[in-house]
């Protein structure tokens, strides 16, 4: 059990957490970039140092991505885009310590629940998930998109259009199934497709700058309350909220774990599905706490989702893919065989995850909230000039390509127009992430079944997922109708 938890391992865990916290907290830098830049370092490290470090970096950087959302409306991961507006609002109105406290504590509790569930049910769920074929993956993507429509809380038709725009952007470049180039307009830079991180920087970061340039507003936000008892706001109040909303946290964490078990789904869809469920259950009379609950729903599922992917050896998202890559580099093959061949290592991995969630997230979470509290005090216009610089460099640094700066600027303009028209932005990112998964699995399934579309409904698991999708649409429409009715009665 102590394979990874030697003193070197614990030191690596602490330093990795610090690196992840600082990196993830800077708007424009992402968890993906944090783990990617660690690869060359990991190459030269011993496994007992490299593995705890990469686990700590990814766990803390995924949470720290919320700092960008809180301060500058730039989400660090597609998962944090699911509750971006709510977190930004809470951080501005109730203070960054409280907003990020919900995020850190939610992530920590979700991660712990995820790990415990993994310990008790990994083998069973891994067996179930191994039966998934392209038909099920297609339906998983459709389910994620259906959840995204109702996650916005606004007009479903506008959320649907935003999703379609995201799906459209995902078709740029080489077709994932047949290899035909699409919508590249003769530019070799577009053949590789649009990077969704670059798009996210433009959609959320640069569009905020454009919005302020256009509207000439003196100060858009009300100043946050004076921070008194930062530790109380960061630890105690969010923990009380978690105790009050224990069923929400449990439900979101379980959703995160189950969605995380599905390769290709990962943390992002887990957070989106949980947030969407919470949006549907929105209670008009408890509006004041609704934002807090939505953040809690998203964060308690985003950190529990990628852990189970280790048990299958198939990554759910880019961060997990890089983490698994480091595992392989160190001679450890994640997947079902890990349970049989290296139970000691598996147990020490569980313990590392628990430590990362129990100690690192609360500790470094507070540190990053302090950074956010400083940044949030800076006059917003001054921050916008800084954000412009980070947007440019962040977009450039992903692929070392100046062309991506144009993509980022273009996405900023598109996002500005969408915001003006009342279209939600986060759904564009969801469409970009899920588009290739949906298209590829649809085409593979269709070709496999010789275009017999009935085959999409024949497998029991696929049918179950389709029913789940229909249930989300039905419940979403029903709850929305009730919400609109109660709003108009008041």
């Amino acid at each position: 059990m102590s394979v990874l938890l030697s003193w070197e391992g614990i030191l690596a865990l602490l330093l990795g957490g610090f690196y992840g916290a600082v990196f993830g907290a800077i708007p424009g830098l992402t968890a993906t970039l944090a783990v990617a830049l660690f690869i060359p370092v990991a190459f030269f490290l011993d496994p007992i140092i490299a593995l705890p470090a990469i686990i700590a970096i990814s766990s803390v950087a995924i949470y720290a991505g919320d700092v960008g959302s809180a301060v500058a409306r730039i989400p660090g991961t597609p998962a944090s885009a699911a509750y971006l507006s709510e977190l930004h609002r809470v951080a501005r109105k109730k203070g960054p310590f409280y907003g990020l406290g919900i995020s850190a504590m939610g992530s920590a509790v979700g991660g712990i629940i995820g790990t415990v569930l993994l310990i008790f049910s990994a083998t069973t769920i891994a067996t179930l998930a191994r039966q998934f074929s392209s038909f099920e993956y297609f339906w998983i993507a459709v389910l994620g998109l259906a959840a995204g429509i109702f996650a916005s809380g606004g007009s479903p038709i506008k959320a649907f259009v935003s999703l379609l725009l995201g799906l459209l952007l995902s078709t740029v470049g080489i077709d994932p199934t047949l290899g035909h180039p699409r919508f590249h307009f003769g530019s070799p830079d577009l053949l590789g497709g649009l990077n969704y991180i670059v798009a996210m920087i433009g959609l959320f970061g640069f569009s905020e700058v454009l919005e302020h340039l256009f509207s000439n507003k003196e100060e858009k936000y009300e100043a946050p309350q004076k921070v008194e008892g930062a530790a109380r706001q960061f630890y105690l109040q969010p923990l009380l909220l978690i105790v009050r909303e224990k069923w929400l946290v449990l439900r979101s964490s379980i959703l995160g774990v189950f969605v995380g078990f599905l390769p290709g789904a990962g943390a992002d869809i887990g957070a989106w599905v949980s947030t969407s469920f919470q949006q549907m259950r929105k209670k008009e009379e408890e509006e004041a706490e609704e934002d807090d609950r939505i953040i809690l729903a998203g964060t308690s599922s985003n950190n529990s989702a990628w852990i189970p992917a280790l048990s299958l050896g198939l990554p759910g998202d880019t961060v997990t893919a890089i983490v698994l890559g480091v595992f392989l580099m160190k001679g450890i093959t994640p997947g079902p065989l890990l349970f049989e061949q290296q139970p000691d290592l598996l147990w020490s991995l569980y313990l590392t995850f628990l430590l990362a969630n129990l100690v690192l997230l609360p500790f470094y979470g507070f540190l990053t909230a302090r950074m956010a509290a400083f940044l949030i005090k800076v006059p917003f216009k001054l921050l916008l000039s800084f954000i412009t610089g980070l947007c440019i460099v962040g977009a450039f640094a992903i692929n070392n390509s100046v062309f991506d700066v144009w993509i980022m600027a273009g996405m900023g303009v598109v996002a500005f127009l969408l915001r003006r028209g009342g279209f939600p932005l986060a759904q564009v990112v969801l469409g970009m992430v899920l588009g290739p998964i949906m298209e590829q699995n649809f085409m593979v399934s269709a070709i496999k079944s010789k275009w017999d579309l009935m085959s999409f409904f024949e497998r029991p698991l696929a049918l179950g997922l389709m029913v789940g999708t229909l249930a989300i649409i039905f419940l979403g429409l029903r709850f929305r109708r009730r919400f609109v009715k109660s709003s108009s009665n008041q």
Binding site: L167, G389, V405
Partner: protein
Amino acid sequence: MKNASDGISALILCLLGLGIWWQSGSFPSLEEGYPGPSLFPRLIAVGLLLGGAWIGVKSVQGSEKITKELKESPSLLKLGGGVILVAAYPILQPLIGFMLTLGLVCLGVALLLGIKPWIALVSALGTVLFIFVTFEMLLGVSL
């Protein structure tokens, strides 16, 4: 029309849908006439046309909430200035280098935002210095 903003959105969405449908026509089909790489873009085009039509109808009926009112004094000139400054970065960067280009862009954006010139200058210098230290020196990202 009770909501002009939605009416314009509807028109743009329909035009976009038609454009995608037309552009997808040049993609090849599979053997035996099955749809190939054009299938998904065309489904998206249909979705955009339907979505645009729905929003258009609702804007005429006035049942969708009016989305964003311009209570402020909007400045298209500043907006355009911001876009041009950032779009000029890839052109200027190879000519005058990363630090100077980024500094100029940040300074320009700060001035457009109405920040006092000396504060804008200090802020631009600070941004460039922070980015240089974080990316180039600590992370080894070549700028």
